[in-house]
Symmetry: C2
Subunit: 306 residues, 2 copies
């Protein structure tokens, strides 16, 4: 039987609707009003939701690999949990003691809107909520899935992942980094969570973590994670603030090392293209039957204008 043609736009539309519905339902649900408002402001109605889409696409690939029907509930929980970690990191990043950003997704940042103390707490509560979403009660048969998802997310978010990369970033301002050092910083700072998105999609479907297809998907996740950052650095110099929804030219202004500052603009563009090709090759080599969404997401990451 011929596979029906894949409609990425329809797939993305449906996935985004599920993620937005989950976030709208869960974020701040049990929090006091003031905290709830700040948490929801930070998460809802904005964002490309790239990480959740990677989770859903990888979940689909994993489910098909195992010839099972998709466990949609855990795919969506994992997708929302990753987005909460991403959202909290933006809230804390934007604070005056970090990047001191006033604009995010075209709106005032959380600390501008709610004050610094509430922004701090909202970020903290969003991180805790991510782990709560991954461990719903009364689902003992899927405790293995819950535990593996928590572990993957904790490692990607913590000292050897996102927070660690931000610490390297912080201590690198004004320093000359080599391309290798820059790569290691970004592998942790943004790469770890993007890679974890692919991993968590995979784990949400309860295949053994080392099942056939995973090593290739892991390479895919790594390449997409790095490509995302290279493109981010390119856009910081080529796009304007209105298109980005955040302050453009911030990296140069803050004297931060970027791919553009180290490799130059053209070489950065070429590098992003190479990483995209690596990601696509990895998918082809995985021999997984259903990787069209992952494929389209890799293209989207590299070709995006904001």
């Amino acid at each position: 039987m011929k596979m029906p043609e894949f409609n990425f736009s329809a797939w993305m539309h449906q996935g985004l609707a599920q993620v937005e519905q989950g976030l709208a339902r869960w974020v701040g649900e049990a929090a006091p009003t003031a905290l709830r408002d700040a948490m929801r402001y930070a998460v809802l109605d904005g964002g490309k939701r790239l990480r959740p889409l990677l989770v859903l696409a990888a979940a689909q690939a994993a489910a098909q690999a195992d010839d099972k029907s998709l466990n949609e509930a855990y795919a969506i929980r994992a997708a929302c949990a990753v987005e909460l970690i991403h959202a909290y990191s933006l809230v804390h990043d934007d604070m005056p003691c970090m990047d001191n950003d006033l604009l995010r997704r075209g709106k005032p940042t959380v600390h501008v809107q709610f004050g610094e103390a509430m922004a701090l707490l909202a970020g903290d509560a969003l991180q805790a909520l991510a782990f709560e979403l991954l461990t719903p009660e009364g689902d003992d048969a899927l405790a293995g899935v819950q535990a593996r998802l928590c572990r993957a997310l904790a490692v990607a978010a913590g000292g050897q992942g996102m927070a660690g990369g931000q610490a390297i970033d912080l201590t690198s301002v004004g320093k000359a980094l080599s391309e290798d050092q820059l790569k290691r910083m970004h592998e942790a700072k943004t790469g770890a969570l993007l890679k974890a998105s692919v991993h968590m999609g995979w784990l949400s479907q309860d295949p053994a973590p080392d099942q056939a297809g995973w090593p290739q998907l892991e390479r895919y996740g790594h390449a997409v994670g790095l490509a995302f950052q290279v493109v981010d650095d390119i856009l910081d110099v080529t796009a304007d603030s209105a298109t980005l929804g955040k302050t453009a030219g911030k990296d140069a202004q803050d004297n931060k090392p970027t791919y553009v500052s180290i490799l130059g603009l053209e070489a950065s563009r070429a590098y992003a293209g190479q990483l995209r090709d690596q990601a696509l090759s990895a998918l082809a080599e995985s021999h997984l039957p259903d990787v069209q969404a992952l494929r389209e997401l890799a293209l989207m990451v590299v070709d995006r204008q904001h």
Copy 2:
């Protein structure tokens, strides 16, 4: 056979040694140097470790209830995880945008020592590490324990627990709270994590969450959690900074509602005594064979001088 007499001091000594060893091994292990230093400074060499001791004591009660040998590994992981959440909350609480405290455990606070940005990241990374500790790889048989521990900790730390209580605290400065409102704030702000310590000790031994003895232990945890805060409020006005290891008289200075400001000093002392008695009654009613450590901890919480 007569039970050997319980030596609380020896029990505590051994428990503290295990917790310190766990923390020393795990905190900042995989983080870049600058972040690692801030994380370890925040956690090691200080603190009463009340929460970890509650975890260990409840684990012991749970193991004996089920007539099993103690699963020490998970009791210690749970004990360290709770302490990491507590430690991160202190780091963030002390920051200028929150309490702006310069002194903690007799030392400069983390942001004074490492800068605000690194303090923010260290707190974030400590929270992630807590969930990482609860989900070690290659322990699939205990996935249920891992998942339940993650859930208990996430709920206690997040918007309906600690972070939520802090948000209420923040929006209550300068306001006249009723005793009931104050109680609800503290049940979330400090009570949730203390209660979760007892809960996580219980869950670490894999008894069914609703097994006989738990409803009484839950009441114990609730009473101890509230007693802790009442005593904290008393000490804020009766002890000096050197004894407390933090700035005394801060609550009054910050115009924060406390038990002392609402009930007065003597009534607060009487209330702390009532809560202690409630905790001890709950233990007696649990009919659990081994609650001596929990009993001593309740006494310690109320009789402490700092």
